[in-house]
Symmetry: C2
Subunit: 268 residues, 2 copies
């Protein structure tokens, strides 16, 4: 298998910076007229993957919406991940895991284990236990040519309570950015919400110079930021951004996914 950074770059060069989310929430399944079951979550994922094949390079399943069905939900997620691999889609598992070192080994085995049914190309991580607590997980990802995205600044209104707190004169978000920059070989990225005020989070640097890190950016489409404004929002680092869209892709129902994807791609 090719190196993660090369696969990521190839995906973006072929299909652009759009990352399509797979978020089978109760309300979205209801909008689609589906029962709220693991089988519906699986079918929902299959539909999105079929529409993404040869149009999109990267998908991002939201693990919470599978976990809500317990083991049956994880089985659905595993099936979706296999379908994604067959469709040559990179998979970013959005799980936001974060724990102490020995426990993180368990999560690393889940998402980066050689034979794990959940094996992903990348995983989102939470740095609450300190960014450095994620070092071994980064190594585990690197060993199997995968990557991670560490939460830096999120767009929910409550985020500032924590992410703007300061240690040694730097915000939490800034420290995450610096940690990622120090440890990345193209395989450690950050998560930054597209509607975040970068200056308030102490990371306006992202706009001012090319930070040379992959940036996973939720918050486009239904959540408020316009894809056409990506350059304005992320400035000098814009070409690093993986722009996540989820609800806007599926809002028109199954028959409209391809049209929605084409429309969103055209906005970028």
């Amino acid at each position: 298998m090719d190196r993660y950074t090369n696969r990521l770059q190839a995906a973006v060069e072929s299909f652009g910076q759009l990352v399509v989310g797979i978020d089978p929430s109760e309300s979205t399944l209801a909008d689609w007229g589906m029962n709220d079951t693991a089988q519906s979550a699986r079918d929902f994922g299959y539909e999105i993957i079929a529409a993404c094949e040869e149009r999109i390079g990267i998908i991002k399943p939201q693990v919470a919406f599978f976990e809500r069905f317990g083991s049956a939900g994880y089985l659905a997620l595993e099936d979706i991940m296999e379908a994604a691999r067959e469709a040559n889609l990179l998979v970013i598992a959005d799980a936001k895991r974060g724990d102490i070192g020995s426990t993180m080994q368990g999560y690393a085995q889940a998402w980066f284990g050689d034979d794990s049914p959940l094996r992903s190309d990348a995983l989102t991580l939470s740095p609450y236990l300190g960014p450095s607590s994620l070092s071994d997980t980064i190594e585990a990802a690197r060993d199997v040519k995968a990557g991670v995205f560490i939460l830096a600044a999120t767009s929910n209104p409550e985020a500032k309570q924590l992410q703007q707190a300061k240690g040694n004169g730097r915000t939490v978000s800034d420290r995450v950015l610096r940690f990622a920059a120090e440890h990345s070989a193209g395989d450690v990225g950050i998560v930054v919400g597209a509607t975040v005020n970068l200056a308030e989070f102490g990371i306006e640097e992202i706009r001012e110079r090319d930070i040379q890190l992959p940036i996973l950016a939720p918050g486009f489409g239904a959540q408020g930021a316009k894809l056409s404004q990506l350059g304005e929002i992320f400035g000098a680092s814009s070409q690093r951004v993986l722009a996540n869209v989820s609800r806007s892709v599926v809002s028109g129902g199954v028959g409209e996914i391809v049209n929605q994807i084409e429309k969103l791609k055209a906005e970028l």
Copy 2:
């Protein structure tokens, strides 16, 4: 079903403050001479539950060590949780979940859903997206008479990078403590490592007065703190502490669990 706080109180009154972890890591299963499979994780959990029945009130499965087997691991965890319920053990699912509001609904459905196979008495949460981002999850727990434990101060050496950062003059750990105190009806607790220097994390208040919140405290036994020092460590809030022991319970192999539990209980 009785209220969570009443169940928690009854468990502690009957069996004391010890919480036994179920941590089927690769190394622990190897120490037990078991293959590294989901079935082994299940058998490991059953052995611990059998030893805990009528001796211990609360168990804490570490979700990462089940997730590493994907859906098969979650099925093992579901079986263990059912066995725990039959043995009248309260279950704290140690998953450290944390995400934005709409996604947290997915996690709430997983761990607090009426018919969910993963339904728990309590769940550990990560406040990286801001403590207030967890409000709806607290409500979801309360609706089914369950509780949560929010990570305040963890004992890993990297934790201070983030948890000691300050906003409005208060550390992150202190803000988590205050959020929990404001929102708890006995059902919102905090996680504080037993080897943490409370003053450095800005939460020495825990020792100085009874904070009247459940405190889940890992770090006893193999991880460094002595159960006999619980009163010294947590001072005025000592009676609120749920002292977690994991490795020390299983270090002697399956034949020694009961003896280890009795020994640890005697140390408290």
